[in-house]
């Protein structure tokens, strides 16, 4: 898989505030890439640089192999971009909005547009101004899927939406994305863990990790060790052990590099005799929280 979106040492500063700090990112073609991180991590900034909405301070952002600063109208015929804070032409009705956009896209599919309107249950005669937040997002998504884009970029699309609308949006996205590459940013992993194929974790403008979700969930485990020797405690815990909580009886931590034999061997080396080791797989949300806490501790 080749990268359809790439950031190479990408930095962006806003009057002294570092939003992106030498970001290196590679979004492979064909999957759903979830870009997650706490609020203020730089997700929206990264997406805006990719979409040529803002210019990077240094480094390079590439879309379809081109410098994002040189994105041409033709490139945008292959990109569907939806953002939570996008300003829409509010005076337009839903029907007029889609009709207006149609001539811009050679691949516009009327049948699909009609299907999306039906699927999202959009009131075609109502102006965008008079739509609820959820309806606006649906209208924006419908207008971005009707021409079968190669790349779909969604910036915090589910923020502030009720679960029902969120599920409808996700369903609509999955049914209509086809083979498109999708980049979706969120501060809430639970929103995207059910359908993302890859995940990137951004914190303070830096990508902490980026990998296939199955590999990620495979290497994170919550471990609970019942100790024999309460006095055995190292001066410093291994870097791969996150959120370590130690008591005379028990040590609990998140292992970010879990490998059964190696992890068990390391536990025994550090803690001496152990009575019991309990290993639990972690949902993405728990991994995210552990990483966020570890990040703040380092900061």
């Amino acid at each position: 898989m080749s990268g359809i979106l790439r950031a190479i040492d990408l930095s962006k500063r806003f009057r002294g505030t570092v939003a992106l700090d030498r970001l290196n990112l590679d979004v492979p073609e064909g999957g759903v890439y979830g870009l997650v991180g706490p609020n203020g991590a730089g997700k929206t900034t990264a997406i805006k640089v990719f979409m040529n909405l803002i210019r990077p301070t240094s480094g390079l952002a590439e879309v379809f192999g081109h410098d994002s600063r040189r994105l041409a109208p033709f490139d945008f015929t292959q990109i569907g971009y939806v953002s939570e804070n996008q300003e829409m032409p509010e005076w337009m009705t839903v029907e007029y909005f889609l009709g207006y956009l149609k001539p811009f896209y050679p691949t516009w599919d009327d049948t699909r547009a009609a299907e999306l309107l039906r699927q999202f249950d959009l009131p075609t005669g109502r102006t965008l101004k008079h739509l609820s937040r959820g309806m606006r997002m649906k209208a924006a998504l419908a207008s971005s899927l009707a021409y079968r884009p190669r790349l779909i970029v969604l910036d915090e699309p589910f923020t502030g939406l009720d679960p029902l609308v969120r599920d409808e949006l996700i369903e609509g996205l999955l049914e209509n994305a086809g083979g498109a590459t999708t980049l979706i940013s969120s501060h809430d992993l639970a929103e995207i863990e059910t359908f993302a194929s890859h995940i990137g974790y951004l914190d303070r403008g830096r990508l902490q990790f980026s990998e296939d979700i199955s590999a990620l969930t495979g290497r994170f485990r919550e471990i609970e060790v019942t100790r024999v020797d309460p006095s055995a405690s190292p001066a410093q815990w291994p870097a791969s052990w996150l959120s370590v909580e130690a008591s005379p009886v028990m040590v609990r931590f998140v292992d970010s590099q879990f490998h059964r034999e190696q992890t068990f061997a390391e536990i025994r080396r550090i803690l001496g005799g152990v009575q019991h080791i309990a290993v639990s797989p972690m949902p993405l949300r728990a991994i995210f929280v552990a990483l966020a806490k570890a990040g703040r501790k380092v900061a």
Binding site: L53, F76, Y81, Q86, E87, P89, P103, F104
Partner: protein, 475 residues
């Protein structure tokens, strides 16, 4: 082109109510200006609102259409859609052309025609007024709109720009004003054009804003720094008939010695000296457009000329006076000795005098426009008046009506501009003289400006103390 038309149609639909209101205002303005074509006209009060509303409506329309796809910011939906910037700019230009320029062109044509002017002959005026409308109105508003994303920002930027233009126009040069105005309009239009292009092509708002601010400073500073001498030198290049400046002499007018006065008021001293101009070729008169003067004391001390206000003489162009203010300390050192006045006179030689009889029926007077006498000129508080209307600009000839009024001169409206139009909302420029009583006819005299001359002069041997008067005696 297809995308341009597509965006254009969207803008028409989006701004349909604004368009309707604007077109109604243009119609009201046209009716109002046409009503003035009649010497005695009945004006509908409602239509008078069209006059100030016309530029406001144009301002709203231009800014709204640009803001429909606002350029500053990163949240607009269109930024991530396949818009080609040239198509977008083309759509906006087409919209402005169709709904701002063309209605004004149509309105101007109707007003000009109703005022008795031939449309065929006024094609240059129609063309130049459209150039000025675009350069001094449409482009600056488009540029300000391209640099702003909301009405509050735009109103603030517009007020700052109006202040800058007001400063740039500075104090009046009378018939030479067109030189300063041309400089301001050229700088304004070029800067605005560059900003619009830059913003549509690159969308780099902050650098564009800095550029616009720098251009504004350049416009104001450059305009107020233009020396009158430079303007006169430039104007002299437009002389129709070469005249040797050395033939002319500027000297103290001893025959009007009673007008020579020095008045001391606190720390400042006002000096008034009558001058005469001799050596004017036969058939011509010399009109003074202004002076710059410095005063040289016997010990060689010079009162800097830039502290002596240049004086123009719209009221007594053929009998000029120097009016200067110096400080009392300097005056104290020079008042009892012979002083020298050294300066430059900016003169226009006028000739080819024509006299036309004007009655209540409007007639065309060469170089003055369509003239008539009216018992109740509605535009001027229903007083008796003689008026001359000229299309698109001030009359190119000096117009007076000595038979109607002893001191009659329409000089304040004459312009030496070589262009067929001036910056104005109305396409009709009206020169008038309000009369004390109704008359049935008057003689209108016009003189053609032939040559513009800069003449150095020196007046020596005057003792200023001889002219001292009480403060209330000056003028």
């Amino acid at each position: 082109m297809r995308q341009t038309l597509h965006i254009f149609k969207k803008d028409v639909r989006c701004l349909r109510y604004e368009l309707l209101v604007t077109l109604l205002i243009v119609v009201a303005f046209t009716i109002w200006d046409m009503a003035h074509a009649q010497p005695v006209g009945r004006i509908l009060i409602m239509t008078q609102f069209g006059f100030p509303l016309l530029p406001i409506a144009g301002w709203i329309l231009v800014s709204r259409v640009i803001h429909a796809e606002a350029l500053p910011g990163d949240r607009q939906f269109w930024l991530t859609r396949p818009y080609a910037w040239k198509s977008l700019l083309g759509a906006k230009a087409l919209f402005i052309l169709v709904f701002v320029n063309l209605p004004k062109l149509g309105s101007d044509a109707i007003i000009i025609h109703s005022n008795g002017f031939s449309l065929e002959r006024e094609v240059p005026g129609l063309f130049w007024s459209q150039v000025l409308l675009t350069a001094a109105f449409v482009l600056p508003i488009a540029a300000l709109s391209a640099l702003t994303s909301g009405i509050v920002q735009l109103v603030s930027a517009t007020l700052v720009t109006l202040l800058g233009v007001g400063l740039a126009f500075g104090t009046g040069w009378g018939p030479l004003d067109w030189i300063r105005y041309s400089y301001v309009v050229i700088v304004l239009a070029l800067a605005a054009f560059a900003v619009v292009l830059w913003q549509y092509a690159r969308r780099r708002t902050w650098p564009a804003r800095f550029f616009a601010a720098a251009a504004g400073v350049f416009m104001v500073y450059g305009s107020v720094s233009i020396p009158l001498m430079t303007a006169v030198t430039l104007q002299s290049r437009f002389s129709k008939q070469p005249v040797d400046p050395s033939l002319l002499h500027v000297s103290f007018d001893a025959s009007r010695k009673s007008l020579a006065r020095v008045r001391i008021t606190g720390d400042s001293v006002q000096i008034q000296l009558p001058l005469e101009i001799t050596g004017v070729p036969d058939g011509m008169d010399a009109v003074v457009d202004g002076f710059s003067v410095s005063i040289v004391a016997p010990d060689g001390t010079v009162w800097p000329s830039n502290q002596i206000p240049l004086t123009s003489f719209p009221y007594q162009p053929y009998s000029p006076l120097i009016l200067a203010t110096v400080d009392s300390t300097f005056y104290g050192t020079v008042k009892d000795g012979p002083v020298r006045f050294r300066g430059s006179a900016y003169l226009t030689l006028v000739g080819n005098r024509r006299t036309d009889k004007v009655g209540k029926e409007p007639i065309t007077v060469l170089g003055a426009g369509v003239c008539a006498v009216a018992d109740h000129e509605p535009q001027y508080a229903a007083q008796p008046a003689i008026t001359c209307r000229y299309p698109f600009r001030s009359p190119p000839r000096m117009v007076s009506a000595p038979s109607a009024s002893e001191s009659s001169l329409f000089l304040e409206t004459v312009s030496y501009s070589p262009f067929a139009a001036e910056l104005s909302i109305s396409p009709i420029s009206t020169s008038f003289e309000v009369l004390s009583k109704p008359i049935s006819e008057a003689m209108v005299v016009t003189r053609e400006p032939f040559a513009h001359i800069l003449r150095e002069f020196e007046i020596t041997g005057l003792r200023l103390a001889d002219f001292e008067v009480q403060p209330d005696q000056l003028r």
